[in-house]
């Protein structure tokens, strides 16, 4: 009996002592030896992205006729897990898609800095910061992602309000909401916080109306004071909005993707903090409530003296794997994937607000025109500056705040600790 216990224990000790060296495979072999580039993403199988990928392929084929391309569309749910496993097993793609922010910054070890290859694109494309770490860009931005506050003009009209002039102060905004709810039963906001994403959108959309410009810039630069009165105001407002019944019901059990959008699309809520690209964006909403009925606003002024702005960053982008045989060739494919021609197609078919600032967007309705105009004064979104770990914690705490099981102060304390470590 004793022996049986001892030997697994011995194995554990041996393993603990030997525990080293197995974290990454040595020298992942490349696919590109035979003039072939493998691309991983989660977009190329979307109906709305096919034409974009075709354009990019054609552009690349014109420059490098002998090279075959293989686009492997992975399911998004498993994407980063697969990428991690592929990196560790030494079987990875040459070019891969990333979300801007934490997801790429956590994985720059596996990537080639692109600055020398994509220098000519630096001016034409916006959104580089989300793909940059320590001054080096690791991917070229394809889309821009941000959080405009969309509203339903039709509901404003039904309540006898002027949809051309949405309120610019918090009191005015909530008064309008009250009037609309009374007239139409539509709630003020459509909230989806099941994934813990509602708080991210909320923080970024209203941040510029709550934090002073100095506090805002400090936050982005990494100097975040979680105890400051204005940061507390954001989270207190998150709680108050819900306590005052401004949100659609059951926020913690409603997904942002795509139930909350559905609430707005079926006119059961007046406002929603949405997206600029991919989904829950102007094109999606145009389809349901009509281009003429869709309005866009920036945050009302919540703290006196603030200048509300549109929060946005680079959305998705393509990077080049460190182990690819010919980084210049792979970087050329990234350039084709961010060419004006290809990105114009992506804008037209998918409604994505693309990184290329020269793409014309005048035909998409009032909302997209307003969004593109706001890009000039826009600032990086507050939540994108946070680490994956803090974002995850914020999502959980935001749900507990809504439930009333954690106080705003206790949540801020935990967030401050997580952000510092």
């Amino acid at each position: 009996m004793k022996q049986r216990v001892l030997w697994p224990a011995a194995v554990v000790v041996a393993l603990a002592l030997a525990g080293c060296g197995s974290a990454t495979g040595n020298e992942p072999p490349s696919n590109s030896a035979s003039g072939k580039l493998v691309v991983w993403d989660w977009k190329s199988s979307d109906k709305t992205a096919t034409a974009y990928v075709e354009k990019a392929k054609a552009d690349f084929a014109a420059k490098h006729p002998g090279v075959t391309l293989e686009f492997v569309a992975q399911p998004f749910d498993q994407y980063y897990t697969l990428l991690g496993a592929a990196i560790q097993a030494g079987k990875g793609p040459d070019v891969m898609m990333f979300n801007g922010g934490g997801q790429i910054r956590d994985r720059v070890d596996a990537l080639v800095p692109l600055d020398q290859y994509v220098a000519p694109d630096k001016e034409r494309l916006a959104g580089w910061d989300a793909f940059t770490k320590d001054g080096k860009a690791y991917a070229s931005p394809v889309t821009l992602q941000g959080h405009p506050i969309y509203f339903n003009k039709d509901l404003y009209k039904k309540a006898g309000l002027d949809p051309q002039k949405p309120a610019t102060t918090w009191d005015g905004f909530t008064a309008d909401c009250a009037a609309i709810t009374k007239a139409t039963k539509a709630s003020c906001f459509a909230l989806g916080n099941k994934e813990g994403i509602g708080i991210q959108f909320f923080l970024s959309a209203f941040g510029s109306g709550i934090l002073t410009p100095q506090e805002y810039d400090d936050w982005i630069a990494g100097r975040r004071d979680w105890n400051s009165p204005n940061v507390k105001k954001v989270f207190q407002l998150w709680k108050d909005v819900n306590d005052q019944g401004l949100n659609s019901k059951g926020g913690n059990s409603t997904t942002m993707f795509t139930d909350a959008f559905g609430i707005f699309q079926s006119a059961k809520a007046t406002n929603i903090i949405g997206l600029m690209s991919d989904i829950g964006h102007w094109k999606d909403f145009n389809e349901f409530i009509g281009p003429d009925n869709l309005g866009v606003m920036k945050s009302p002024v919540i703290t006196a003296g603030t200048t509300p702005s549109l929060p946005f960053d680079g959305g998705i982008g393509y990077g080049v794997a460190k182990w690819t045989k010919d980084p210049a060739l792979a970087a050329d494919l990234v350039r084709s994937l961010t060419s004006t021609d290809a990105l114009t197609t992506f804008y037209t078919n998918a409604g994505a607000v693309v990184s290329d600032t020269t793409v014309k967007t005048t035909d998409g309705g009032v909302a997209v025109t307003a969004i593109v105009a706001d890009l000039k004064t826009g600032k990086p979104a507050l939540h994108v500056a946070l680490s994956s770990k803090t974002i995850e914690l914020m999502g959980r705490l935001s749900q507990q705040i809504l439930e009333g099981s954690v106080s705003v102060d206790a949540a801020l304390k935990q967030l401050g600790e997580s952000d510092r470590s």
Binding site: V11, L15, A16, C20, S22, Y80, G84, K194, D259
Partner: protein
Amino acid sequence: MSAERLAPFVLIAPAVLVIVLFRLWPLLLGVNFSFTGDGDRNGAAVGLDNYTELFADPLFLGALRNVGWLVLLLPVAVAIPGMLATFIYLRVPGHRLYRSVYFFPAVLSPVIVGSIFNLLLSFDGPLNSVLDVVGIEPVDWLGDSKVALFTVVGVHVWATFGMALVVFLSGFATLDPALLDAARSDGAALPQVIRHVIIPGLSRTIQFVFVTTMIGMLTSMFGLIYVMTSGGPGGSTYLPEYYIWIQQGQMNRPAFASAASTVLFLVMLVVGLAQVSFLRRTGKED
């Protein structure tokens, strides 16, 4: 004679080979991996650091506590298909139909099952409307941290009982119908038949279903959790496998995830073997 003595080894060799090569060997590699670091400390030996951090994380401890809940709910998850299989075996009216359709949910992916139940259980969804008619306050089935885990377990049981049913039904093949007839002609009521004939007769099948249901609950509820609650609200429906997944993918901490996996393996091993020996003992008493 030597060929005779060799026979068992020949019969088990292919199975042992496959399991050792593609299951136990990777397991050892994974355990080894859990003693290394992530990110800046990639590949470096870090001793028990990952384990220390793991047991200091309230989220992981919460996930383990939820495992405890699952173990407590296990008898229910086994009893339901067991009862249903018994009724089908006893030829309740319509048994042929039930035998066919009870398996249907098992063929749908958890993603679609989860999506459907998201709609049915949403705050303003059909279930709450029905409760409203009866005069019961609406329940936020997936948004209330005291209820959500049980909701998800309920859906999991609903989605998988068809498989356990199949196993139970094949187990009935080993039951001696003469015993059943004897009990019946003695005038035994159904509960007595179940207690004195069916449970002892099927003890191995029951034990088997217990173990596999536990494994199903502890390792394949990921899809439902992912779609129905994303571990929320407030982390209340986190399970170790979801935790592992998040650490591995979202947080990019594979070595730390390996440590969590190793703990999950040990927990399952202990719970599972305890269960087997417990069931064996009670089986013998009968």
